[in-house]
């Protein structure tokens, strides 16, 4: 675990960095495939709506499940004297319950008969057959209200996003991530064929909140990192956003794990102990949605945001400036190449160091350096670049070697300078 802590530190300083934004294509493709599969599943298999939405009756009785349970129960239903029970579904839950789902029944005439038939079949008193019955028109109303709920919720969330970010592009990216999660969750339901109940819907709406919150955490950090971007040439918007993602990565993983753990417990209790019911329905939607929400805010929302932002004239200019500066430095470096031993990237000692003699910005320089690569975009073609902190160079060179291995752990004002530089 403390390894994760150390990685957390390195991610935070930018010492270790995964280029989420540079690899966005890969993740877009992954998501596109997933979404495509979801939509396909939705179109081909459709959703299996519970009786709450279509109307119907659902009976549960305790019994000892044998191989014949289902068939003999079907016979019992056929002989119950209630018409149109042929397409009733009978299944067993675990090894001690049988469940019968039928069309909607008349509550005073038909339900007692079906209950009696089931009770007789499994040999318990009629009163111990639990059931729920949803009238057809009521089911229609529930569906309608569910759709309204979904619509209202999406509208509200969009509003909150708009108010919170006050930035059209951020809002758009957050919203896209949200829809992404929504489609994936629904897709899983279609694909696996789980029943959609009001509890599922509640779960889905809840994850919209979660997903939004995940995005808020990442975007907050992005905002913080890009605040002084325009006045410097340290990095482009994409690079700043990427640093933000890396910085919140550990926290995102932690909050997701901690959020998902209780849901796993719910899923376990719902699916293993009870077999059916609201616990399972809720937990499944939450589980899928939370994981997808964490994924989308990092791999989809932020790259999208960066992409959109990079199109702004300001940011284009910034990117050009950063490129120009790096090119210059690269040149300088080639001149001074003889003194450098750095194999991977160019030495960065340029303008920044000059500006901030007293308050160095190691992390920034490093970040810029590692991202600078061939003077253009980035250097790492591997997924994770873990580099020893070879460039803790401020002016004083001689102690560098001695502290090389300790450098990573050195308490430094790693990420501070942004604001300090300003003042």
């Amino acid at each position: 675990m403390s390894k994760l802590g150390t990685i957390g530190h390195r991610l935070y300083t930018g010492e270790v960095s995964y280029d989420f934004i540079g690899h966005r294509r890969r993740w877009y493709i992954v998501s596109a495939v997933l979404i495509g599969a979801s939509i396909l599943a939705l179109l081909v298999r459709g959703l299996d709506f519970g009786i709450e939405f279509k109307g119907g009756a659902d009976f549960k009785a305790a019994t000892i499940v044998t191989a014949q349970t289902v068939d003999s129960m079907k016979d019992a239903l056929r002989n119950s004297g209630v018409p149109d029970l042929d397409d009733a579904t009978v299944n067993t839950i675990g090894n001690n319950q049988v469940r019968v789902q039928t069309r909607t029944l008349d509550p005073t005439e038909e339900v007692p008969k079906v209950r009696a038939a089931i009770a007789k079949e499994v040999g318990i008193p009629s009163d111990q057959v639990a059931y729920s019955l949803i009238g057809a028109s009521w089911g229609g109303q529930i569906t309608e209200r569910a759709l309204i709920a979904l619509g209202v919720f999406l509208a509200l969330v969009a509003l909150v996003i708009g108010i919170y970010f006050r930035d059209a592009k951020m809002s758009a990216a957050a919203l896209i991530a949200l829809v992404h999660d929504l489609i994936l969750t629904i897709g899983i339901y279609a694909l696996v064929g789980f029943t959609v109940t009001p509890a599922t819907l509640i779960g889905v709406l809840t994850i919209l909140g979660y997903s939004l919150y995940d995005t808020v955490v990442v975007f907050d950090k992005v905002r913080e990192n890009v605040r002084d971007l325009r006045s410097s040439t340290a990095r482009t918007y994409s690079e700043a956003a990427n640093l933000a993602v890396n910085q919140v990565l550990v926290r995102s993983i932690n909050t997701t794990i901690i959020g998902v753990l209780p849901v796993v417990a719910l899923l376990f209790a719902g699916a293993v102990i009870l077999g059916e019911g609201p616990l399972k329905d809720l937990a499944l939607a939450l589980f899928v949605g939370m994981v997808s929400g964490a994924y989308s805010s990092i791999f989809i929302a932020t790259p999208l945001l960066a992409q959109m932002k990079e199109r702004e004239p300001d940011m284009k200019k910034l990117a050009a400036r950063v490129r120009a500066r790096r090119a210059k430095e690269a040149q300088k470096e080639r001149v001074a190449a003889t003194t450098t031993s750095t194999p991977t990237g160019p030495e960065v000692v340029g303008t920044n160091a000059a500006e901030e003699i007293s308050e160095p910005s190691n992390a920034e320089l490093e970040q810029a350096g590692s991202l600078a690569g061939n003077g253009a975009k980035r250097v790492s073609s591997v997924e994770m670049t873990v580099k020893p902190d070879v460039r803790s160079h401020r002016e004083g060179p001689p102690r560098e070697a001695a502290h090389r291995e300790g450098a990573a752990k050195r308490p430094q004002p790693q990420n501070k300078p942004r604001s300090q530089r300003k003042k």
Binding site: A62, P107, V111, V129, Y131, A149, I258, Q420
Partner: protein
Amino acid sequence: MATTTGHPGRILIALAVLVAGLITLLAVSGTWTPKLGLDLRGGTTITLTAKNTTGTGAVDPNSLQLAKTIIQSRVDSLGVGESEVTTSGDNQIVVTVPNVQQDELVRLVGQTAVLRFRSVYTAEQVQPPAAPPSASAEPSASAEPTSGATAAPSDEPTAGASEEAKPPEPSATKRPNNLPLPALPTAPPVPLDKACVPADGKGTPPDKALDWQPSEACQSAFAEFTCDTKVTDVADQGLLACNQEKTEKYLLGPTLIEGNQLASAVAGIPQNNVNWVVNLEFNSQGAAAFETATRQLSQNSEPQNRFAIVLDGVSISAPSVNEPIPGGRAEISGNFTQKSATELANVLKYGALPLAFDVSEVNNVSATLGGDQLRAGIIAGIIGLALVVGYCFLYYRGLGIVVVASLGIGAVITYACMVLLGSSVGFALNLPGIAGAIVAIGITADSFVIFFERIRDEVREGRSLRTAVETGWRRARQTILIADTVSMLSALVLFVLAIGAVKGFAFTLGLTTLIDVLVVFLFTKPLMTLLARTKFFGGGHKLSGLDPAHLGVQALPGSRSRRPAVARPAVSEEGV
């Protein structure tokens, strides 16, 4: 920097007082467990949706209230404790009865329809269909016509209309309802449904209803009519109907009096009498109509001297009239028992409402299933809590103690609130509610993660732990509040939009979110401030979760053991 350290001790004491207050309240109220929903202890929930029978307009809230009281009294008549009848939304009544699983309940509550008085045009005995054994137990059903017009010797000027041709027990309660009844309608060749509606569809208003004559089609339809045919009850048209026992079928005229013109119906034993009767009282409009109707009916001969009280297309009583009844008061007598008289009176009262109810939803949970669900919920809670606590200890080491303590305090407050809400406003904890509370464990722990990670970030940026707690808090606070606002907003919207049991999820989610804010602000933060002063945490002990190696820094700046009083933006480096 450390300006907002506040007085952690005082805040903690305030919280302790709050918790103590809650516990005192619990002790005062005397309940220590939350009220459980029916899905956790077994019982029946019935949701009825009201429709306005006078048109498509909205349901009158007063009528709904009245219906609620009537249904409540019906449920109470079953003799079950703790039953609850509540209105929900603007047109629903929700009946919850714990520990009752009988079909009887649904029948009683679900027997909801419009009541109308119609004149009898033709009555005919029919063979009780495929003889449910109970029918043979009541052979008296083959009634002699017009069993003595019990011109009640009551002090009221009540001309009795006799309860006629009815078995003494009109209630179906005695029928072993599990036994097979005849198969339901085999579709008749002629749509009997429409047979008595004239081609032009013109209706007959109540004041002309007595002169109504059935068409030929209608009469021949009556001949074919069996009691298993379902016929739509249209107010101003003739109607084919049977009595409840399906022993007699009627061709009925259009509505004479609507049920809502009935002011009251009471079962009782008149003075100097031993038999149960049902007393009716009409409102002024109904009284006039009733007088006119009885005057004319009393002159007719059997069976046209009878009127039928029709509830949902079924004649619940078809007494004959021997004399005009002025004044709007009437008495129905017959072989009533207390039970059957009360039941008839209730049906009549109920029919007076201009509301029709559909049984929209029935949820019937056996006690065993309820117990299973409760157990599963508790197990899920324990596992969830254990997983979260375990993870926190693993990852945050000593800080895990803070997590456990905070979750513990949160759990105590949540539990107390649930119990108190149960005893004060009737909040019942159901399965989705438990799920909400369990999901909230994650949300609450999430706040700590944000806080801790912020503190670590601050330490990484070179602050001493004590300052890191303060500055980290200031930054984390904002994020925590946003997270909780989003969560609260979800809960609110869900609560407003959700239907039925899933409301419980939204409710507990909202409640626990509020409690999360309370705990983080009043407990976790002050606790961290205090802990940062200790040597174990503030000094970055190996197990504290804040040790330098764990954070990836070489030493905690400002930790007294190594480096006293480092200037804030720790420019200085180790070993410079």
